[in-house]
Symmetry: C2
Subunit: 205 residues, 2 copies
DNA sequence: GCGATCTTGTACTGATCGGTATAGTTGTGG
DNA sequence: CCACAACTATACCGATCAGTACAAGATCGC
């Protein structure tokens, strides 16, 4: 049995609040004082529960990815490449424009350009984005191998194109773009997909 | 005639160095000590020449836009909407992947998510991006009115789509994407444009 | 109740933040 | 040669930074 004085705050609930602070202000723009105030706990409690600022941010990132970027895995599980891409774009548009939550994407705006001290955090975000791109590329490669996409398509280029749209919409969301506006961008992108890849059905023979 | 001891450093040359520091580290990630070291001047000289950190950043932004984002005006002056869009995308791909210079775009990564203290700077960048989008939208609206684009096209959506690609490529460049990789994305995007808008020629009827 | 163990709040650390006072230096105009 | 103006360099300001020492408070096993 765990002895000692019990913690007076809920770990997950507190972590969720920390997610929003880092999401809104970025890693370097967030001071420990901002966190203790938003979390309603004292400094030593924060350090005891989450370690230093960087390790807290990494836990925040993990929770953000698990909750807010869950659409990624769902999208990859879609039966077709087209559905995957549409799910990705719509998921990004929605996740970056949630009412009552910060605009944009933590993995983009959390630490895009930083001073040397924050380099490890910046690299962690970059690494996460790259792994996401790799997963999308693998999914598109499978679609091509299955004959769903034309054999001449380059999954790497396609994945980078899709991710560029996702990151770009995230930047626009951070700048105040509405969900409706981003949905229009997604519609346009999917129309382009259909025009380029050849409609909603694979080649009929 | 200007009397007094002459300045020992070149203003423009020093400003160019400041551009690179803010470009690489972002607004909040840049300390005055970083600047004085990179610029080779003392703290009071910096303040006398450029004012405080925020006003220096605004001058840096103006110079960056004038030099590194010059492709924007050139693109808008292209004779066709297609040439404009291609110029924009290629210009962004090139400007964010210059050898020997920071990767990405200052107007995106300079202050995408910040603490409250840096809010004015963040808003200034957002405002600049929005004005760029508006200019592109106006150019595309003109193309539609001239009959170059189908009458049902929505210039606002199209402009947001193009800007999303630009910002997205900028994020990817900041994450280490190469110029060649981004050029492939541009090629794909332009193929989509042609497939969607209907080829390189306006309707012949 | 007692000691062990953990969390709490307060108060503090050295370092760094943006910004400046001040004195010394180097030039120009008369 | 002198008075003045602008720049340079050092050294400093209060505030804030991330991180912690320490003592009081709370809960467990015994």
């Amino acid at each position: 049995m765990r002895t000692g004085r019990p913690r007076e705050f809920d770990l997950d609930r507190t972590l969720d609040r920390a997610v929003r602070v880092f999401w809104r202000q970025g890693y370097e723009g967030t001071a420990i004082a901002d966190l203790t105030e938003a979390l309603g706990i004292n400094r030593p409690s924060l350090y005891a529960a989450f370690g230093n600022k960087e390790s807290l941010f990494r836990r925040v990132l993990a929770r953000y990815v698990e909750q807010r970027a869950a659409y990624l895995d769902l999208a990859l599980a879609e039966p077709t490449a087209r559905a995957t891409v549409e799910h990705l774009l719509l998921g990004a548009a929605d996740a970056t424009t949630c009412r009552g939550e910060p605009r944009g994407c933590l993995t983009v705006q959390g630490a895009l350009a930083t001073g040397p001290d924050s380099d490890p955090v910046r690299r962690a975000l970059t690494s996460w984005r790259r792994s996401g791109e790799a997963a999308i590329r693998a999914r598109l490669a499978r679609a091509r191998d299955d004959g769903e996409l034309p054999p001449h398509t380059d999954p790497a280029v396609l994945a980078r194109y899709v991710c560029a749209l996702i990151y770009g919409m995230s930047v626009q969301a951070a700048g105040g773009a509405t969900r409706t506006q981003l949905h229009r961008v997604v519609e346009l992108s999917m129309a382009g997909w259909d025009a380029l890849v050849g409609g909603e059905q694979p080649a009929a023979g």
